[in-house]
């Protein structure tokens, strides 16, 4: 007999060791998320995947599925919470979708549309962050970093540890493992997994901008809940 949890009243099967996110994804149930990617160790930091498990808030990406759990996902309250969390990410950095190359392929933007986020709501922080365009093939626009650590985790799997998150609280920032702190002096290469993993436009591949025109990009064609997790992770301009 297979084990099941209930998500919004629907029975979803799972196997021991799976998280709620994994069980949901396997059953085609979308739970909004940004720091999660099926290929990497769950992080549980963005909190967009907050679900109610037996009445208590949990991160679906890290919380283990257990027999008989009653999980609430698509409720008005959770949608509202997730919208506010997304708004927080928008005001913390500097996200100007109309001038961003990632627009249409950006998960942050797609999640915002999915959650019907119509404005930033909160006061902007106007963070002053530098651009690192030193690398011949890859650039970092720190304005768009949301500290999901996907690049950190991907670079770890690349065996290079090119990226890390440093600082504390609202002063968090992405740092690069090189003597100068610049990307050009790091071990990053164009073929690295870390290059294409960014869910926003913080890490971009150079030389391919707008190859796919606006209007024909991943999330221009489909809403984020209809795009598989694997597809989302590879969302870039190719």
């Amino acid at each position: 007999m297979s084990k099941t949890i209930s998500i919004d009243g629907r029975q979803v099967e799972f196997v021991d060791g799976q998280t709620i996110m994994e069980a949901a994804a396997a059953a085609g149930v979308y739970i909004p998320h940004l720091c999660h990617h099926p290929d990497f160790t769950p992080h549980g930091s963005c909190k967009l995947c907050t679900v109610k498990v037996n009445g208590r808030n949990c991160s679906a990406c890290t919380f283990p599925a257990q027999e008989g759990q009653e999980v609430l996902n698509e409720t008005d309250e959770l949608r509202e919470d997730r919208r506010m969390i997304t708004q927080m990410l928008f005001v913390e950095g500097n996200h100007f979708c109309p001038s961003c190359e990632k627009s249409g392929n950006c998960q942050l933007q797609a999640v915002a549309y999915y959650l019907q986020m119509l404005d930033d709501h909160f006061p902007l922080f106007f963070a002053s962050r530098e651009l690192d365009a030193s690398h011949p093939e890859v650039m970092i626009d720190h304005d768009r970093c949301i500290f999901c650590t996907l690049c950190v985790r991907a670079s770890h799997l690349d065996g290079k540890e090119v990226f890390a998150i440093s600082g504390r609280g609202i002063n968090k920032h992405l740092i690069v493992n090189s003597p100068s702190g610049k990307l050009q002096d790091s071990a990053l290469e164009a073929g690295d997994r870390a290059v294409d993993i960014c869910p926003t436009g913080a890490i971009l591949r150079k030389g391919i901008g707008y190859r796919v025109p606006i209007g024909k990009r991943i999330f221009d064609l489909k809403k984020i809940d209809a795009v598989s997790l694997a597809e989302q992770g590879g969302a870039h301009g190719e």
């Binding site: 930091s45 909190k47 283990p64 969390i85 909160f122 609280g169 740092i175 003597p179």
Partner: protein, 633 residues
């Protein structure tokens, strides 16, 4: 920037490092090559340190604390050398330096002064004293003086609330600061007298035990708890602990016997015992007293736990603010080794256990048990995802019991006197006693031990508090109660507390208190999860807007909505309680908030008129028509 640093560098001060808490590295080339001698010196220093610490990356934080003490910052060269010698990415070293507030990538003064910014220190005159100190030393708050001799800054509560205003000078705790002491300090610094040679009066810390109970009332002899436990049998002793009903004294209140049993039942052969002495909750200082005067009982409790669960290694995680207790505690450990109470064959039994002391470096979040474990492993103190819980996967992924100082002391007493002795006191769900740290507006601040179930009114009588407006129970993360609620009781059933008890009389402004607490959480948020990282900063902005008189009715609703989100979606206890000061006072004193509001329905979050300044400058106008009058009142 780099060039400026080199030009302005003072003798003995290395200006090579150019990280700051919020800046990325810039070119350091002007430094390299100009101080070869010092670099060789540094290299030797680091090599020796790494060797002393067994070349283990888990010792990174401990090593960095020593580097900071030696050079008043962590120079860039050290970062590179540590990365190489500990076989870790340089980014790991940088992230640890940038995480802990006592570590700096840019040089601090040779005399580094930090003044405690706890609400209790403020009530004792800290703001005026800080101004006086800054003027005397001719240094700005938050800055290093031009000659590099002295730096001055605020720091979170240093745990001297009963004898403030307090601070830290080169890591050493100073207490009861006044203008006379400040003048003396300024003179000592001007004549460059090393801190080690200053009069002991500056560093006097009193226990201030005002009321002793179950724990503070008697001292058990060294080894008595262990001998009792071995005589009774370890399983039987664990049962006694169960009977005692002892719950964790850090505030969360998990049953101690259950925690120890879980760790004991884990399959792994290697287990650890950790004492959480990272007493960071503002207004709490009872562990300071236990560490100072009841250290044997603490270590006895830890050793008891080790014998029961089968651990061979223990750690005491001592908050950086209590660095002055490090040497005395080491001496206690040494005495215990010599008496056969630590090491091999403890108390003549087949038990091996020893305790290492790890020091923190200014991070409230490390009081959270999984963040504390991360910190013990030499990493940034970021709380882990749970499950797994530390009892099954803690330090280095092994089963680990983490308990508060007071919990271990209580456990040692239970081993001697039995579970019923303890359980006879207190209430149904809160057995035994609780040690309180009482400070604020009362005649006798200090340490008070009560059986659980005591009323707030009774405590206020004892500590000599009159004309009381309210009490902050359990520190900023706890609850503010007003004078209509003083018949409430301290117990897990009603007001749970880790021991902080701050009294406010009617002369105090609630919003000033809330502002101090709200700033504290924004400063201490580790930044891991979105709701706490961004939310605590937004909460501070939103509260300040109202406090400064720019708020409208909608802003109060917004404050509450934001507070609720942070409380319900944050990753750990810090975020889940960060909005408590606002939410608990907003509920009790809505009129105090409303009084701050403008009588219009909307106010922007920024100063509209101030934003026109650039335009006025460009048009060279400053007439009344070039100003926006923000009416509405």
């Amino acid at each position: 920037m780099a060039a400026q640093h080199c030009a302005g560098s003072a003798p003995g001060i290395d200006t090579g490092a150019v990280y700051s808490k919020d800046k990325r590295p810039v070119d350091t080339s002007c430094f390299f090559g100009t101080r070869k001698y010092q670099r060789d010196d540094m290299k030797k220093f680091i090599e020796t340190l790494v060797e002393e610490h067994g070349g283990r990356a888990s010792e990174l934080l401990q090593i960095l604390i020593k580097v900071q003490a030696r050079w008043h910052h962590v120079p860039r060269d050290c970062i590179e050398q540590l990365a190489e010698q500990l076989h870790i990415p340089r980014t790991r070293v940088i992230s640890v330096v940038e995480f802990y507030t006592f570590l700096h990538a840019q040089p601090r003064g040779e005399y580094e002064i930090l003044i405690s910014d706890s609400i209790t220190d403020r009530m004792l005159g800290k703001p005026q004293l800080m101004d006086f100190l800054a003027a005397k030393l001719q240094v700005q708050v938050g800055a290093v003086r031009q000659d590099g001799l002295v730096s001055l800054d605020n720091t979170s509560c240093t745990g001297m609330c009963d004898q403030g205003p307090a601070g830290l000078i080169n890591g050493r705790a100073v207490t009861a600061l006044d203008t006379r002491k400040v003048v003396a300090i300024a003179e000592l610094i001007a004549s460059k007298v090393p801190v080690e040679e200053w009069s002991g009066d500056f560093f006097l810390v009193h226990d201030n035990i005002r009321k002793a109970g179950l724990l503070l009332g008697d001292t058990i002899g060294n080894g008595v708890a262990l001998h009792s436990a071995f005589a009774r049998g370890l399983d039987e002793t664990l049962r006694e602990l169960d009977i005692s009903g002892l719950r964790g004294r850090g505030g969360a209140g998990f049953k101690t016997a259950l925690k120890w049993r879980f760790a004991k039942q884990e399959q792994d052969s290697e287990r650890f015992v950790v004492c959480n002495a990272d007493e960071g909750e503002p207004g709490t200082f009872k562990d300071r007293v236990l560490l100072n005067s009841h250290a044997h009982e603490l270590f006895e409790g830890m050793t008891l736990c080790a014998a029961i669960i089968g651990a061979k290694q223990g750690f005491l995680y001592l908050r950086g603010e209590y660095q002055y207790l490090y040497e005395p505690l080491q001496q206690v450990l040494q005495q215990r080794r010599q008496s056969g109470l630590l090491g091999g064959n403890i108390a003549g039994q087949d038990v091996t256990f020893d305790i290492e002391i790890h020091v923190g470096a200014g991070a409230y979040i490390c009081g959270e048990e999984s963040a504390l474990i991360e910190s013990l492993e030499g990493k940034c103190g970021i709380p882990r995802n749970r499950p797994p819980y530390p009892v099954s996967q803690g330090y280095l992924g092994k089963p680990t019991v983490v308990n508060n100082v007071e919990t271990f002391v209580a456990a040692a007493k239970v081993a001697v006197h039995g579970g019923d002795w303890f359980a006879a006191r207190g209430t149904e769900q809160s057995k035994g006693s609780k040690i309180l740290s009482i400070s604020g507006d009362c005649r006798h601040p200090g340490i008070y031990e009560y059986n659980f179930g005591v009323s707030v009114a009774g405590i206020l009588d004892d500590c000599g508090a009159d004309d009381v407006f309210g009490v902050q129970i359990g520190g900023p993360s706890g609850t503010f109660i007003g004078n209509a609620e003083f018949d409430r009781k301290l117990a897990f059933e009603d007001l749970a507390t880790g021991g902080s008890f701050i009294v406010f009389d009617n002369s105090r402004n609630v919003l000033d208190i809330v502002q101090n607490f709200t700033d504290f959480f924004a400063h201490e948020s580790c930044g891991f999860c979105t709701p706490c990282r961004v939310g605590t900063a937004l909460l501070k902005k939103q509260f300040d807007k109202i406090q400064q008189g720019h708020g409208s009715a909608g802003d109060l609703l917004e404050l509450e909505r934001l507070g609720r989100l942070i409380k319900t979606t944050s990753h750990c206890g810090l975020g889940q309680t960060a909005a408590n000061p606002i939410l608990t006072t907003l509920q009790r004193y809505p009129e105090l908030y409303q009084r701050q509001l403008k009588k219009i329905s909307f106010e922007p979050g920024f100063d509209l008129d101030g934003s026109l300044e650039t335009a006025r400058k460009l048009s060279r106008r400053n007439d009344p028509a070039a100003h926006l009058t923000q009416g509405g009142e």
